[in-house]
């Protein structure tokens, strides 16, 4: 082993330590949601005892205790800041997290395993907001999210339409000529199909883009790379072999920001979901109302509830301050079974 190899190991460990510290701070913020007050000295004592009894040979209790006192102090400082927590599906470095940053840099992003966990977390008050992708220019609609939207009581309070740029990443020190397999979410892999085949690379589906980046950093499989965001490269200390490996220049994803209740804000868009009676022209009757009112539809999507029975999503340009919009929605309600207004909100379009 050479000095530079030892140093590579040290860099990797440091990036893990920081990552874990960040995770710990997140858990502190979540714990705050269950506590009346920030201070809890009994719990601090409990943690210190565990830490002092650690079996790691080089970590003396004097050292660990001083570190943990710093951790407690900083965690409490963060808890006092009343930060807005936003749940997203995936690991840190996911595109949903990037979307949150475009919406509001101050929001703290908390990773969730499933979309359902995001919805549940917002519903229970664990998170202030949730962010979910609904549709992509290449991959189409995100099925599981649309299914959750049909049944949710949450409200859409914002949307972000964002370009998605994929990068090919490897663990530091990997020779690009040795890359054979590329791990990523199946949707990301399908968006880079031509790039992969041009370079004779085998796509390997993984549960999440950023998750693949994390796995690569931790287990360093031979001859492997992943496709993820540049943010993931920074977070997991990976090397960017090539940026923008997506096949289409215009690869965009639309994300929705969810909250438990409506927010008083300027709106320019509205999303609704409804079902109709099983009779001829039922859907047409609804669409005609929008056409007659001169309202521009921006999205229409049908999701099967059971064979032959559909929920319809419609997004349109309009504000809850416009009387024609409110009148039209009244008429729509009479023509449909189970109309739900998912929200009036503003959509942010990110260029590039």
């Amino acid at each position: 082993m050479k000095l530079n190899e030892v140093r590579q190991n040290i860099d990797l460990i440091d990036s893990k330590i920081l990552k874990l510290l960040n995770d710990r701070m997140e858990q502190g913020l979540l714990a705050k949601r269950f506590k009346e007050q920030i201070e809890d000295s009994a719990r601090e004592q409990e943690v210190l005892e565990q830490v002092n009894n650690n079996p790691n040979a080089l970590i003396e209790s004097e050292f660990s205790e001083s570190i943990y006192k710093l951790i407690f102090a900083f965690s409490k400082k963060l808890q006092a800041r009343e930060l807005c927590l936003t749940g997203f599906q995936g690991e840190h470095g996911a595109y949903s997290e990037e979307a949150v940053r475009h919406y509001n840099r101050e929001y703290v992003t908390i990773p969730c395993t499933t979309f359902n966990e995001v919805f549940e977390g917002v519903n229970s008050g664990l998170y202030d907001f949730g962010i979910v992708p609904v549709e992509n220019t290449l991959g189409g609609n995100v099925g599981p999210v649309n299914e959750l939207l049909i049944n949710t009581d949450l409200r859409i309070i914002g949307a972000i339409d964002m370009p998605v740029h994929h990068s090919l990443l490897t663990a530091p020190g990997t020779d690009y000529r040795e890359i054979r397999e590329v791990y990523s979410h199946s949707q990301a892999l399908s968006q880079c199909r031509c790039f992969l085949s041009r370079n004779n690379l085998t796509p390997i589906p993984y549960y999440d883009t950023a998750g693949a980046a994390k796995m690569l950093a931790e287990t360093k499989p031979r001859g492997a790379a992943c496709i993820a965001s540049k943010l993931a490269a920074e977070l997991y200390n990976l090397e960017v072999i090539k940026e923008r490996v997506e096949d289409l220049g215009s690869n965009r994803t639309r994300f929705l920001l969810l909250a438990k209740s409506n927010q008083e804000c300027e709106s320019s868009k509205c999303s609704i979901v409804f079902t109709t009676e099983h009779k001829a022209g039922a859907l047409f009757g609804v669409l005609r109302l929008f056409a007659e009112a001169g309202i521009n539809l921006t999205r229409i999507e049908s999701i099967p509830n059971e064979p032959g029975d559909y929920s319809y999503f419609i997004d349109f340009d309009g504000s809850n301050k416009e009387q024609v919009v409110l009148d039209t929605l009244d008429k729509v309600e009479k023509q449909t079974t189970g109309l739900k207004i998912l929200g009036f909100y503003d959509e942010k379009k990110v260029e590039g």
Partner: protein
């Protein structure tokens, strides 16, 4: 000339044109400038800006350097390719860069607009086949010990793989002359034009290896009807890690481009477009 069925000039006299970015090769003079090697971020981006301001239409630079000695600077490899892509992002100039290893071909394609096959690799047939499969434009330099026939056969290899986008480039051959680094064989320009439909560039930098000779030989190349010039330019030639004696400063490059462009416009007149004496050996 042997079996050159794909590269030889057809009866109708139609010549190959290759569109690279906004540049059309085979239609007016194309000036390619840039350092011998990609050495650092600063050197690359600065030189690229200078090439752009000086009137260059494409940017060149080596990320993989086939050097005489294994101990000489071998290039930055992938890092170099990334820097070239950044240079293109900044200037909009298409990138010409050399590929020396068949395993690198697909990766160089990801970053470059034109693949260069260097003089030392002209007859590296597995490399020729590999670039032939890509469809990317290939700048095929003449080997320093190669005859025209051998050179054209190498182009035939690339076309035979299905890639019609070949640009030939004369960069000087070995003779008994020692004053110049190589002997720039400008007779290749009309020779290539009467035998093939492919565009031909001239590299006076390697062709002479001497700064003082580059201007005159560039003008002579344009007068001979070359489709393009490949010129080595470095933002600070005295500090170059390779070919320090033949790289132009940005000012020299800009002045040269001005002069060449004037001659090129003059040569565009009808009088110079057609040859007075025709004939000679056919393929």
């Amino acid at each position: 000339m042997g079996n050159l069925k794909l590269v030889q000039l057809a009866e109708n006299g139609k010549r190959t044109k290759i569109k690279v970015g906004s540049v059309m090769i085979g239609e007016g003079l194309v000036i390619v400038g840039g350092p011998c090697g990609v050495e650092s971020e600063k050197q690359t981006l600065k030189t690229a800006e200078a090439v752009k301001t000086g009137g260059g239409m494409m940017f060149r630079g080596g990320a993989f350097k086939p050097r005489t000695s294994p101990y000489d600077f071998q290039g930055l490899g992938l890092e170099g390719l990334k820097l070239l892509a950044r240079a293109r992002e900044n200037t909009g100039l298409p990138i010409v860069t050399e590929v020396i290893d068949p395993r690198d071909v697909s990766w160089v394609c990801e970053f470059a607009d034109i693949l260069q096959i260097g003089a030392r690799n002209m007859q590296n047939f597995s490399l020729l086949r590999e670039v032939g499969k890509t469809g990317k434009p290939v700048l095929l330099k003449r080997g320093m010990y190669s005859t025209l026939k051998e050179w054209l056969n190498c182009a035939e290899y690339i076309l035979a793989e299905g890639n019609p986008n070949v640009i030939l480039c004369e960069r000087g051959i070995r003779t008994f002359e020692t004053y110049t680094r190589n002997t720039l064989d400008l007779s290749m320009v009309p020779a290539v034009k009467e035998l093939t439909h492919l565009p031909i560039f001239i590299d006076p930098s390697h062709g002479t290896g001497k700064l003082s000779l580059i201007e005159k030989m560039s003008l002579a190349a344009v007068a001979a009807g070359a489709d393009g010039l490949l010129l080595e330019v470095h933002c600070n030639p005295s500090e170059a890690k390779s070919d320090a004696d033949q790289q132009l400063t940005p000012d020299q490059f800009a002045a040269l481009v001005k002069k060449i462009t004037k001659l090129s416009r003059f040569m565009d007149e009808k009088l110079f477009k057609t040859s007075i004496i025709t004939g000679g050996d056919q393929i």
